[in-house]
């Protein structure tokens, strides 16, 4: 009997024991590395492709469109630069450009032949290069890195079609099949897809220009979501504000749960507006944290809590917020509880050049930073007088000092951008470095910012003709990309985060 009992116990207990040993969770799902856009591929990559979508517009004031291809690597490369027009079926015009090691090359869109306007695609014979393009319209100008990945959706949070302003959306389809898109317009009080924006076809291998102001008239703020019915494409928004300046908005092709604007600043005659757009179908709560430079985390201002309805946007005018210092550099971090994430844009306007900020009277926006990285590349850096060309570095590590080396590749050489070649950024701290003198006169360079800890890098510069300024995100190197980690004083919003009972001063239009 004892043996029988033993056998039964072994069978029963063994079975139950085995069921209890089973893990509660299955195998962790693999999470593919979703590279940000744009991104610099490693030098070992066999090719890299860049899409410069926005272009000069024949219907507006004559505008110059220049593509800058920077090769900070130590090997010579070549690139096929193709200009795409708006005529369906027309073959792109292609020029091969040699890219000597540690140089950057400018290509004027008008010189590519074919249509004088239209998108540009750069196909390099290797990785490690970075491409940006800038539009110059008289005394106003703006520059953004080109995109490295097409997408089926693009979001633009801040569009203005007030009288005298223009908002022109460029859509670029470099593929062999036509793409069709819908443009959803989010107003403060509703959402619609105007008939003119429904089912827009972007013929294969063409760029298409959509004048948003022709359909959405006299609005000082709205957001748009461009969604593909078929195909993929790239998009950029060219915004010209009368009397303020020109800005090129690269938009966002993906939503994110954490967004960082590394180079926020307050100054007299400067307005800074943050627009948070929720393109999803579920309402979200966003928290905007402000981290003034040099302040202890305990002394950070109370975060702003924004309720963002589904498919709508919320604006936050920072210069009018009393809890913020009116001057000084700071970092903005937007977090959301929405699993799908949000998009955001920061728009900066200066009515008069403030001192020492590298900002002229003008208009700019900065793209949202959604990742940290160990190495960043600033596409183009020109020689400039002191106080007119800056690089902003934010250390996203909470416990490591970032030892940052700044190297300018110009005229075939690697040059230190700062004395000694290195700077240190404290953990969770930020610095702003004047790099105007790092480049020899009569040349231009590519700035590589390599850090021992994850950082976020932005660039701010005034135009050489003193007519405008721009702020742009540097481009991370793919192999060094990391998620934006936890930051002191900035708790990541969770699904249980409740909206603030007493919302701050928020302008919802």
């Amino acid at each position: 009997m004892i043996r029988r009992i033993a056998v039964v116990v072994v069978a029963v207990v063994g079975t139950i024991g085995l069921t209890m040993l089973l893990p509660a969770e299955g195998p962790a799902p693999a999470t593919p590395t979703l590279l940000p856009d744009p991104v610099v591929l490693g030098a070992s990559a066999e090719a890299s492709t860049w899409y410069c979508t926005a272009s000069s517009d024949a219907s507006a004031t004559p505008t110059t469109h220049v593509v800058t291809i920077g090769n900070p690597t130590g090997r010579a490369l070549s690139a096929a630069v193709s200009g795409y027009g708006s005529t369906a079926g027309a073959a792109p015009t292609t020029t091969t450009v040699q890219l000597p090691a540690r140089t950057s090359v400018n290509v004027d869109r008008a010189g590519l032949g074919g249509d004088a306007t239209g998108a540009v695609m750069v196909e390099a014979s290797g990785g490690g290069i970075v491409v940006s393009h800038r539009l110059v319209n008289g005394r106003t100008s703006d520059e953004v890195p080109c995109a490295t990945a097409p997408s089926g959706a693009w979001y633009f949070s801040a569009v203005n079609t007030q009288l005298g302003n223009s908002a022109r959306l460029w859509l670029f389809n470099p593929f062999a099949a036509d793409a069709a898109v819908d443009i959803t317009v989010a107003y403060a009080d509703g959402v619609r897809i105007p008939r003119a924006f429904s089912g827009l076809v972007i013929p294969a291998r063409t760029a298409r220009l959509v004048d948003l102001g022709a359909t959405v008239q006299r609005r000082d703020q709205f957001a748009i979501a461009v969604n593909a019915r078929a195909g993929q494409f790239t998009a950029e928004l060219v915004q010209h504000v009368e009397g303020a300046g020109l800005r090129v908005d690269p938009g966002m092709s993906r939503t994110s749960r954490r967004i960082m604007f590394a180079d926020s600043f307050g100054a007299a005659n400067v307005t800074e507006r943050l627009v948070v757009f929720n393109p999803g179908r579920v309402a979200a709560t966003a928290t905007v944290s402000v981290r003034p430079d040099g302040a202890d985390s305990a002394a950070y201002p109370e975060p702003f809590t924004l309720d963002v309805p589904a498919r709508r946007y919320v604006e936050l005018n920072l210069e009018s917020e009393t809890r913020l210092s009116p001057t000084g550099s700071r970092t903005l971090v937007v977090d959301t509880d929405l699993p799908g994430g949000l998009v955001a844009t920061r728009v900066v306007a200066a009515t008069k050049a403030p001192n020492g900020l590298g900002v002229e009277a003008g208009l700019a926006n900065s793209a949202a930073g959604t990742v940290a990285a160990g190495t960043w590349v600033v596409p183009r850096i020109d020689p400039a007088a002191p106080g007119r060309s800056f690089v902003r570095i934010v250390n996203t590590s909470t416990d490591s000092i970032a030892v940052v080396r700044l190297i300018v590749a110009a005229a075939g050489k690697d040059l230190d951008a700062v004395p000694g070649g290195k700077v240190e950024v404290p953990a969770a701290g930020a610095i702003t470095i004047d790099v105007g003198a790092a480049v020899p006169a009569d040349t231009q360079g590519v700035l590589t910012v390599a850090s021992s800890a994850p950082i976020v890098v932005e660039r701010r510069a005034a135009a050489s003709n003193s007519g405008d300024f721009w702020t742009l995100s540097a481009v991370p190197v793919a192999s060094t990309v990391a998620p934006l980690g936890e930051l002191p004083g900035i708790p990541r919003a969770s699904a249980t985060t409740q909206p603030s009972a007493t919302p701050p001063t928020v302008t919802t239009k």
């Binding site: 979703l34 593929f175 195909g231």
Partner: protein, 1085 residues
């Protein structure tokens, strides 16, 4: 007794005719064709277009006859004459003809002639016609039909052209578009009669036979063939004529350019003989007459075997009339053999085409067998009650005896399996996961013999052993690969229960064996495996009872110690051979075998039977060695390849999340059944509670096996969750079968130790066990409801079959997706993403066990990986060097549009962003991308001196780019032999790995040079027709011969019997013998 019908070919008396046929050619006004008043043209005189004589055969026509004539009258063909042949009508149809078609001629055959006899009158009555158009009196040609048929005959260079036949009353319904034929003469119509005509079949198609209702025949061909064979009257004369025409080198096509309404009421057949019987015997007669002697040598035995099987199935299922048809067909043909031999001589004289050419137009397999199995699907439910009723009425001694019971059990198993899988016959087996299709069976066999395979990017070396087995399986199904696949899946449902039955053969009652078979059948494992497309799991499940039974016998413990005695090492031979059979499909069976041996050894040691444990250890080692020897080429290859564990595991995917209910139900969750699936495990507890002696011992052993198998699941799930692991049904299979055997031991205990005892808890427990066994049947019956084990209807291969346009043998496809979703065995190239390569767009069974990756595959994986990492926007360009024309991303193995995993979604987005790939919209569960610039596997490129190895030529054109080049080689009679023109100064690039490829030209043999470090290039200096071929390795063939010898030797050694020598019994008396047992364990001690 029926007199044999005459054949026109021999010298039998001609039908009774009027004295002078010419005199009988009448028009409506006069009986003299030469002096027609109407000025009707001479039917044999051309008028700028080929002369066509419509030969309308009639006998006692109905009212529709006028419509038929008017159809001919309405034809606009300028050189058409009509000859109406009356085959013995009771009333002269001439007045009707005269009224409807004044220009027609009427010829009356006074005796009751068959259609063939009547139609053959045209041979003597018509001269100078280019074509004869045979019509029935109940078929009406649509306007323009004659023009369409004639133009098709010229355009297609066809000897016989058939019209598209539609229903007389409902012309939107199809009646016939010709038929294909199998090698046994059974026809398979191209369209389903009554099918709605939506122009879906509107294409001129080569067929085996077209209907005589509207059949255009080249007049000279008809004359050469001697007209219709008159010995096969009323049915199949059309097939006979078309087949003989094909042998004579003339094609038969059917065309929608000519349409005819057909009433199918012509009274020309022999009403005394039912149509099916005539069809069967006439088809057999045709087969006997038309094949060459060599071809007949192997067709005839196959036909005899098929007929025997057909006969057996019909007898078993009570269809005695059909059985009689088969008997009649053979007897009739034996009786008519002399006449058939005369026809054979005439066919031989006219032969212009080899039988291999004729065979190439035929369909594989047996149409009749397929039809039977298809009908079994719908008939199954009706047959099961009948079978059960028959069982109930069996005499009592049948139910007591083991032999009849076994036969009944087998019949029941087969019937249940056919019902449960009935829809797999009609709808086909979806290509899900391991249910790969089979293509090119003969190529598989050649590859196996030559040691060369085109899987991946091609390789030399041993081919997986499933190739010859696949070939053998298709032999059994008469060449039907689809049927072979279906039967391979269903076989597991029969083999495993039979194995469980045999475990207790001679040691337990029929009831115990029945419960063992039943419990083995109803566990969730086979249903899960079939529903998920897990062939390996089915193979392991099928083998499991056979392996366990042999291991049990190795112990020499009661009750498995009776009969002959062999040493454990010798018993291991049989065990190894059994495992080797499963190894063909599931290499992991070797691991399972070792695991089973270890489990039984552990159990034996714990039970104090160290000697038995030792015997099992020796036997298992012997079995593993045997398996290694009989699979010698695979063993050698396996030991030499670095990814041997990957091949053994048989999966690239980690286990899914396993919860307690899955473990307790031994189910992966595909089969519904809820808690009832726990019935067998619960019943398996019963013998532990109530059994004694050897029953308790073996029940405990079964539980140890089961717990061991479940432990593997738990260990993998907990400690190696990310490692590639076999599918859950495979891991559950040992536990499921072991517990099924334990449940049967509960019945044995019920018989021996419960029945007859005083009522107590034992009786209650035993009754509970019996109830559990009864309940366990319910989920199985429910699973049988779908008729396809819930296997999805759709699959990705069917979905991509609509993508075509390229020569499938010249381009490759790469498949991307989650490792468990691909319809082939992929290799993981990124976390959560696997890649496989196929030639063309259809995976094959070869792709389930791909060879170790070579340099080419590694390079291709690197290219794809880099692209998915965002390092290229022109993947098509890079794939062209690998001859990859398509990339298929599988988001859902059933092509039903399930949400893709993040990794697959990332791949879709990346591929969608490639500048030189075009997305092809196919199905929701698929992303298909086509490259416009793929180079062919065998391509010609210019000027080797101008092209450096591995050079990229971004600006090159297709004609000058070495990675694109120009295709131009056509396959010979084997995939190892290609032929095509090569110009002077050209090179032939072969995007294929592997050695031993040679290019033969007029100048001699050209040796290859490496191209891109993995492919090959042959430089040619003078233009010629070149032959690209690969020769097999002699060493490899020797190895196969050695393997065959080893298998024979092992079989002989395993079957050799050693009588029991009482003095050599290994086990001491303490180990009980059946029937007289001192207890070895349990409470009896």
């Amino acid at each position: 007794m029926e007199s044999p019908p005459s054949d026109h070919a021999d010298d039998d008396p001609a039908p009774e005719l009027t004295p002078d046929p010419i005199d009988d050619l009448v028009d409506t006004e006069t009986t003299d064709t030469e002096t027609t008043d109407t000025g009707a043209p001479d039917p044999v005189v051309g008028a700028g277009v080929p002369a066509v004589v419509a030969v309308l055969v009639t006998r006692d026509p109905g009212s529709w006859f006028v419509d038929a004539l008017e159809g001919l009258a309405a034809q606009e063909y300028p050189n058409l004459s009509v000859l109406v042949i009356d085959a013995g009508s009771s009333e002269d149809p001439t007045p009707i003809v005269a009224a409807a078609l004044p220009s027609a001629f009427v010829k009356r055959v006074l005796r009751h002639a068959s259609f063939a006899e009547a139609a053959n009158e045209a041979l003597g009555a018509v001269e100078g016609a280019t074509f004869l158009l045979f019509c029935h009196d109940d078929s009406q040609l649509a306007p323009g039909a004659v023009q369409g048929l004639v133009s098709t005959a010229f355009r297609e260079n066809a000897g016989i052209v058939g019209a598209k036949l539609v229903d007389w009353d409902r012309p939107d319904r199809l009646r016939s578009m010709g038929a294909k034929v199998d090698r046994f003469g059974a026809t398979a119509p191209m369209v389903e009669p009554g099918e709605l005509d939506q122009s879906q079949h509107d294409a001129t198609t080569e067929v085996a036979v077209v209907s005589t209702a509207a059949m255009l025949v080249r007049a000279d061909l008809f004359e050469d063939l001697g007209g219709f064979s008159t010995d096969i009257d009323g049915i199949c004369e059309d097939l006979d004529l078309c087949w003989r025409a094909r042998v004579a080198g003339a094609r038969t096509v059917v065309t929608p350019a000519g349409v005819a309404r057909h009433r199918e009421l012509a009274r020309l057949g022999d009403p005394d003989v039912v149509e099916r019987r005539r069809a069967v015997r006439h088809q057999a007669r045709i087969v006997l007459a038309v094949y060459s002697p060599v071809h007949l040598l192997w067709v005839l035995p196959l036909a005899a075997l098929g007929s025997a099987l057909d006969l057996l199935l019909n007898v078993v299922t009570g269809r005695f009339r059909q059985a009689g048809d088969i008997v009649s067909a053979w007897t009739w043909n034996i009786g008519h053999l002399p006449r058939t031999l005369r026809i054979r001589r005439r066919v031989a004289a006219s032969r212009r085409s080899a039988d291999t050419e004729v065979r190439s137009t035929q369909i594989g397999g047996s149409v009749r067998l397929r039809s039977y199995l298809g009908s079994a699907r719908s008939m199954g439910e009706r047959r099961l009650p009948a079978a059960l009723a028959a069982a109930r009425d069996l005499p009592g001694h049948w139910q007591e005896g083991s032999g009849p019971a076994a036969a009944l059990a087998v019949v029941g198993l087969v019937v249940f399996t056919l019902i449960a899988g009935r829809n797999l016959f009609g709808d086909g087996l979806s290509v899900v996961r391991e249910f790969a299709p089979v293509s090119g069976v003969s190529a598989l066999l050649r590859g196996w013999w030559n040691g060369w395979s085109s899987v991946g990017l091609g390789h030399n070396g041993p081919v997986p052993p499933n190739d010859p087995m696949t070939w053998l399986a298709t032999i059994v199904t008469f060449g039907s690969t689809a049927l072979a696949r279906t039967l391979a899946v269903l076989a597991a449902f029969v083999i495993a229960p039979i194995g469980s039955w045999r475990v207790f053969r001679g040691v337990a009652s029929v009831r115990v064996r029945l419960v063992a078979a039943l419990a083995t059948l109803v566990v969730a494992v086979p249903f899960d495996a079939a529903g998920e497309g897990r062939l390996q799991a089915l193979a392991v499940y099928a083998a499991m009872p056979w392996l366990l039974g042999r291991i049990f016998r190795m112990t020499g413990l009661a009750p498995f110690d009776h009969g002959v005695h062999r040493s454990p090492a010798r018993q291991g031979l049989g065990l190894g051979l059994t495992a080797a059979a499963a190894f063909v499909v599931a290499p992991i069976v070797v691991v399972v075998l070792v695991g089973l041996g270890l489990a039984v050894m552990v159990g034996s040691v714990l039970g104090g039977r160290a000697r038995a444990a030792g015997a099992v250890g020796v036997g298992t080692l012997s079995a593993v060695a045997t398996l290694a020897v009989v699979q010698l080429p695979t063993t050698i290859a396996l030991l030499g390849r670095p990814d041997r564990w990957w091949l053994l595991v048989g999966s690239s995917s980690p286990l899914p999340k396993v919860d307690a209910t899955m473990l307790l139900r031994l189910s992966s969750g595909t089969t519904s059944g809820g808690w009832l699936l726990m019935a067998v495990p619960l019943a398996a507890l019963v013998p532990l509670l109530v059994a004694g002696r050897w029953r308790l011992w073996w029940a405990a052993q079964c539980w140890i096996v089961a717990l061991g198998a479940l432990s593997v699941v738990v260990v993998v799930a907990r400690w190696a969750p990310d490692a590639a692991a076999p599918a859950l049904p495979l891991l559950f299979a040992p536990a499921a079968v072991a517990l099924a055997l334990a449940a049967a031991l509960g019945v044995a205990a019920f018989e021996s130790e419960v029945v007859g005892g005083t009522f107590g808890w034992r009786q209650l427990v035993a009754l509970f066990g019996l109830a559990a066994v009864a309940l366990s049947v319910i989920p199985a019956l429910a699973s049988a409801g779908s008729g396809r084990f819930d296997l999805p209807d759709g699959d990705v291969v069917a979905a991509v079959s609509s993508v075509g346009g390229r020569d499938a043998s010249s381009y490759r496809t790469i498949w991307l997706g989650a490792p468990d979703d691909l319809p082939l065995r992929g290799r993981v190239i990124l976390p959560g993403l696997a890649m496989g390569i196929t030639t063309g767009m259809e995976p094959s069974v070869e792709n389930l066990q791909p060879p170790a990756p070579g340099d080419g595959e590694l390079a291709l994986a690197s290219v794809v990986r880099a692209t998915l990492n965002g390092e290229s926007a022109r993947l098509g360009r890079q794939l062209s060097a690998f001859a990859v024309s398509h990339v298929v991303v599988v988001t859902d193995p059933t092509a039903a549009g399930a949400e893709p995993t993040p990794e697959v979604a990332n791949a879709l987005a990346t591929l969608g962003a490639q500048l030189d790939l075009r997305e092809v919209s196919v199905a929701p569960g698929l992303g298909v991308y086509e490259s416009a610039i793929a180079g062919a596997i065998r391509r010609r490129v210019p000027t080797p001196a101008a092209v450096k190895d591995g050079a990229q030529s971004p600006t090159g054109t297709a004609a000058t780019d070495p990675e694109i080049g120009r295709p131009g080689f056509r396959q010979g009679d084997a995939p190892t032999w290609w032929r095509g023109p090569v110009s002077a100064g050209e090179s032939v690039v072969l995007s294929m790995q592997g050695r031993d490829w040679r290019l033969g030209t007029h100048e001699g043999e050209v040796s290859p040079k490496p191209f891109q470090r993995w492919a090959q290039r042959f430089a040619v200096t003078r233009g010629s027709t070149a032959t690209l071929s690969v020769e097999g390795s002699t060493g490899h063939r020797l190895l196969l011969i050695v393997q065959g010898l080893l298998i024979l030797v092992t079989l002989a050694a395993a079957r050799g019997r050693t009588p029991v020598r009482p003095g050599r019994r290994r086990e001491p008396a303490s180990v009980p013998a059946a029937g007289d047992p001192p207890p070895t364990t349990g409470d009896d001690t």
